[in-house]
Symmetry: C2
């Protein structure tokens, strides 16, 4: 079945074949051993039921194929002295990658008790899919990995993220034919239009067609080969096929295929780097067709197992109770001839290790998979150089994200040489008003260009593609290999990556508890084009719920910021770009917004995360009668407008204005590292006064964060309640009862013992809302008193 | 640029060309008019600033291309008498599809005040992207549509969903080259491997390469044509190219291309249906290359606009203030020669309407886009025929989803002839133990088969593909065209479609308010393989947050059920399969679970949604000292085990056990139609007694639902708090403090005035937890007293 051109590559010697096969058999033995054994790891005695784990959990099907890749990557890394990272896509590849890193010695370096000898092998076996042990997929605990194998679909995007700006790195990426059916993976193939052969490393996809998912054949494995080739060429790749079920033949094919692919990659990189060739190139892809569960039991209980979906998990399920299954397992394990592979102490013999590379070249030891080791501080400018001057609050307007664009432009410029910072987004960098970055870097683009194009650049570090999945996947891969970045996204549509951010948060949560994993730069979201300003998009573009989603996750990892103006946005951005191992969510508008705080005040306010804006309230040293709290730019504006109305119409009332930037400060101290102690919360919000809280998103989030506080029964929250359409900015807040008039009415309704005059004020507010409704029907614009409002106190 | 084989199709007559072009010009005029005008719709007087809308919002770029498709679909529908639905993928196609349906008369049938005359035209223009008007993308308000154009990526999956089991339907699907970059769209191309040419209709993708997104070229438009053809052939399609910028030439090409495609489709359907040909066929795809913003302003302020991204939204932005822009706009609008297209009353002249089909064949009037009109009741069996016999609670075990499988099998069988029910899932139907359905229908599969395959069937109605996006998109398309279905999914990974379900909920919320949209069958999720039973997958597979996500959305639409056993699952499933216009989320385990309720009791309990399980408590007519509440199968088991421990160890304590099936019952009456009035809530949970609530998911959700209740300060919730790994079922609940021992400790900690003996009980519980930790370290299994526990009271 070989279709590799034999003239392009050297053939394996018999010696090489023998040692490669020894490594592969050892890995297969170790993979099967992990699934089944808790004792007698070297089969030094006949297999008995008590050697078998009480619950058999794990996935054999994908393991032999992955082991083959591990073995052969070892060979080419050694032969060529390559820095290589491998992304293992197939979901449950845990047994293989654990086997490979145990064999190359890196596993014991990370986990000394799982030593490369018989006691270590027994621990390796026992811990696998065992309570409190290691999961059956590739996870943060696995050395050499940046990719959680659980959910499927992100391997190729991770691989590209790892390759960007790592010109000396080869990223091999094994893609399972199951995950190849997912949307994110299907979109990822076109990542090659964004890979710069000069400044980026190479990605070598290895599409592993083992034919089956859990219970079905896979689509790609059932295409005629010619159709599959058309597909891969259409993706911009040149396929190289390897396949069969005779190990020796497959070893020879695989070695040739890898040599062919790597020769081609080297040639392409040379022509781009040395000869300046600027045409997009067709990168190789290896198509590896081997049987699912290869070398495992052919038949069990009269049904075919090898090369069918039945080998997906545990091919022999009844081993502890069924003597025939136990016999089959023993025969299977002995078929690898463990006595030839390990010495009597359980150490791999030299033949097995002949292909294994040295030191940090080993797949399990590459620092690229522990990116914190390679991380450099980001050069961040002084915020005073980009800040907006603010002499008094509310006197000037700026578009906050445009101001942030100036900061990002400087970072982009100052990372020109090191190339360790990227900005990603789904075709929205300019729309989100961050276009100042284009002064420092164009947009990565390797496809054809036309004279009319702007800012496209072969070496650009701004990434734009209309796929949130790709943005997220690329950035994750980039961060996990030791670089920095920012993802700017439409607020509503960031839900597209809900599931991906879950996995990244889980990855970070687990990584933080592994002492050997060095901290990496945080994943930073800028959510803009937010719910309150979908003037012509309307209801389908309104969703502030990503914050809720993220706040369900591990508090060690998640942070949420709602800066109310340009300078607070700068302060938050500076903070998150310096932070490590977090997922930071920033929500900030792109529309003109009043400047409330000077840069110094913004720094202080953001450091506190929440604080009283004394200049906006009317406490004057008295105890407040009511607290107006706000989080988010639009709610802050409405609260200040309400405060101004109260100041004018109910001047005796002592109003406190509190602004919250860091949402997690509202949580109890025990539930989040940023959580306020009760005395501080009570000091800000009081224990017994009415609090009217205007919040950017779903109002119940504030209740969920504060329900344990003493003053919670007095808290009344306004926010987005799924009431939206194509309309003006002020009509949006009216529809959701977040407008200044409604807030004043809330105050009147909730503060006890107000003067009689308050009823008239309330009526005036209700009238203003009626006036609004009439005006907007007639004019299609906001009331002049609202459109022209400014802070004036 | 034509590459259509001229011998295969008839050429347009000059007369046809003239009338088609008239329709297209009219549609272009109407699209531009919607973006700009609020008066003077027929340009009966010179254009003045006051005719222009105060805010210019809308998207011109994609409109001329979509109009071309609308015009030419009209022609072939009329000529061939086809039932056709068109899915309009490009995001902001609103102006076009509104124009098309206004021209074909269907718009006025749905909205009589927007009549097909001058006053109606003025209303059509004014309402567009106007406060309280219609959004700039295709939305539920648009007749003839089943597809929200906002988020992008789902058009092709929707098209396939509409085509399944509609053998007489042609589904045209315009795919924008922007959305083609998304993951879901990229995966959707392979849907053709699941389309049965015998029982399903045809999908005709029209890939519209207009070259640009918001601010960038598109990837597919910048591939060499040969590479694009390889890609499309690799997807299983035969490309037919149409392109250019000369209207007459493009009209001729487009007509030929459509004829070629439809001839081929008819031939393929005939050979499958009449001749029984069973080979997978290569369906046609039309590649339409026309300039973005075609026929709009070529240059504005010295910069090229037509055929660039600058025509994406409003090509002339300063019309009200800039006389040159106003002049350009007038020239542009008059270039369509409106006086030839509309009579003096604003009615389209006969030439314009010559291509428009009749009655329900019109794209704006097809009942397939208002699926409720075509909906038939699902034949549901008597639940007693599938129920599990339960003489006393907790005496037997069943796998709830397997029992549900029996119900689904009957539904599948009883819809054999009508074919209006499908079950979709990402390769998990058997894993989720619903495999009984295979007795009634195989899995849809058109790719190659091998002798080893099981349950694959060319005409199957179980859909399995490893893409949650495809499952969701197919099912949405299927439901919106008037059929029924169920999506079974891993609980953690259903977050993959968070964003899609948002859009579907928003679609239903809006549709429910449109009197002309008939109710459709609900979108039903079965979430299984849930957080508590990820014994070998561990942390990455644990996420119960989809419920939180859905409960943020419109209460008119969302429903969430956590049936605690097999019969309650049957009752809930029966209910949701009969319901309309909802998104129903059911969370239920697949592992063996005690049967608590007989079918009759289950019906009663589910109808109430929450109730006291008197047999489980020890109230005996007394006022309870404590309430043990539970929602979800695993929490219910732990609560019952805790109740049993309390009965044994603290027999004097009056314990009430409350089980909640319908989560929205916990909400206040004003916030959800299912919400309990306070008196009922207080009656169930008391106003002042401690309530220990064991919940399936994130504990704060219960607080968010109940914070307004009088008894809320006494509520203590246990649930999943992101503490998980590869471990046993009981260890999972221990790690999250949801276990029976912890619940008993909670009771002791919270009930005031307990006997001294309670301290000893508490210590015994703590000791049991310690014993658990030691046992699991040693044996890797659960304590025998837990593993063998059964209800015995």
């Amino acid at each position: 079945m070989s279709q590799v051109d034999p003239h392009r590559s050297t053939a394996l010697s018999d010696d090489e074949l023998r040692t490669l096969d020894a490594h592969w058999r050892a890995a297969n033995y170790l993979a099967a051993g992990q699934i089944y054994l808790m004792a007698n790891p070297l089969l030094t005695e006949p297999l008995r039921p008590e050697h078998i784990k009480p619950r058999l959990l794990g996935h054999w099907g994908t393991s032999p194929g992955l082991n083959l890749v591990y073995t052969h990557l070892n060979r080419v890394i050694s032969a060529r002295g390559l820095d290589t990272l491998c992304v293992w896509g197939p979901g449950h590849g845990g047994p293989s990658v654990l086997a490979g890193s145990w064999l190359d010695g890196s596993y014991a370096e990370h986990y000394p008790d799982v030593s490369r000898d018989a006691p270590g092998m027994e621990r390796l076996f026992r811990q696998f899919s065992f309570p409190g042990g290691v999961p059956s997929h590739v996870a943060p605990e696995v050395p050499g990995s940046i990719h959680e194998g659980g959910e499927l679909g992100y391997s190729l995007a991770h691989a590209y993220g790892a390759a960007f700006d790592n010109p000396d790195l080869l990223v091999a990426c094994v893609i399972g034919d199951g995950e190849a059916e997912t949307g994110p993976l299907a979109a990822s193939w076109h990542s090659n239009k964004f890979l710069d052969p000069v400044h980026d490393g190479a990605v070598l996809p290895i599409l592993h067609l083992n034919g089956y998912k859990i219970a079905n054949p896979t689509v790609l494995s059932r295409l005629p080969q010619a159709e599959l080739d058309e597909l891969l060429r259409g993706y911009g790749h040149e396929p190289i096929h390897v396949g069969g079920d005779d190990p020796a033949a497959v070893h020879r094919d695989m070695a040739r295929a890898l040599d062919t692919a790597l020769d081609r990659i080297a040639l392409m990189q040379r022509s781009a780097r040395e000869d300046g060739v600027a045409e997009r190139v067709r990168w190789p892809v290896i198509v590896l067709r081997t049987p699912k569960g290869w070398t495992g039991p052919r038949e069990v209980d009269g049904l075919p197992v090898e090369n069918t979906w039945r080998s997906h998990q545990v091919p022999l399920a009844g081993v502890r109770d069924n003597p025939e299954h136990l016999r089959q397992l023993e025969a299977w394990l002995r078929s690898y001839r463990p006595e030839e592979l390990f010495d009597t102490d359980g150490r791999p013999v030299p033949d097995v290790l002949a292909c294994v590379p040295e030191g940090s070249r080993r797949l399990g030891a590459t620092p690229y998979a522990n990116g914190g080791l390679l991380l450099h501080e980001l050069p961040l400018p002084s915020l005073d150089d980009v800040a907006v001057p603010v002499d008094k609050p509310g006197a000037t307007l700026h578009e906050p994200t445009r101001v942030l664009g100036d900061l990002l432009e400087r970072v982009m410029r100052d990372t020109w040489a090191r190339r360790n910072f990227r900005v990603v987004g789904p075709d929205e960098t300019a729309s989100n008003r961050l276009d100042a970055v284009f002064d420092a870097s164009g947009k990565a683009w390797q496809a054809a260009t036309l004279p009319v194009d702007e800012h496209l650049e072969r070496h650009g570090r701004v990434m734009e593609v209309l796929s949130e999945h790709l943005c997220q996947g690329w950035l994750e891969g980039y961060l996990l290999t030791g670089r920095h970045g920012l993802f700017s996204c439409y607020e509503a549509f960031v839900h597209i990556v809900d599931s991906m951010v879950n996995q990244h948060i889980k990855w970070l949560r687990t990584s933080r508890r592994l002492t050997w994993r060095a901290p990496v730069a945080s994943l930073n979201y800028l959510l803009t084009s937010h719910v309150w300003r979908q003037d012509h998009n309307g209801f389908s573009h309104q969703d502030p719920g990503f914050v809720d989603h993220v706040l369900n996750k591990s508090p060690e990892v998640v942070r949420v910021y709602l800066p109310p103006d340009a300078n607070t946005l700068l302060s938050v951005a500076d903070h998150v770009l310096r932070s490590r191992d977090y997922v930071n969510v920033i929500v900030a508008g792109k529309q003109p917004c009043y400047d409330w705080l000077s840069m110094d005040d913004a720094r202080t306010h953001c450091a506190r995360g929440a604080g009283i804006w004394e200049w906006a309230g009317t406490e004057n040293g008295r105890e407040p009668d009511v607290v107006l709290a706000c989080a988010g730019d639009v709610p802050t504006q409405e609260v200040l407008a309400a405060a101004q109305l109260l100041r004018r119409h109910l001047p005796q009332l002592a109003v406190r204005v509190v602004n919250v930037v860091d949402m997690t400060r509202l949580l109890p101290r025990e539930e989040h590292p940023h959580g306020m102690p009760d005395f501080e919360f009570d000091g800000l919000f009081t224990r017994d006064k009415p609090v009217i809280f205007a919040y950017h998103g779903y109002p119940w989030l504030i209740h969920r964060l504060t329900y344990r506080r003493t003053g919670h029964p007095h808290l009344h929250v306004r926010g987005y309640k799924e009431s939206g359409t194509t309309t003006t900015p002020f009509d949006m807040v009216v529809r959701n009862d977040l407008d200044r008039y409604r807030l004043v009415m809330d105050v009147v309704d909730r503060v006890p013992g107000l003067a009689v005059r308050a009823a008239a004020v309330r009526q005036a507010m209700a009238d203003a809302r009626t006036r609004h409704h009439a005006w907007i029907r007639e004019h299609g614009t906001d009331l002049p008193e609202v459109a022209d409002w400014s802070w004036n106190a």
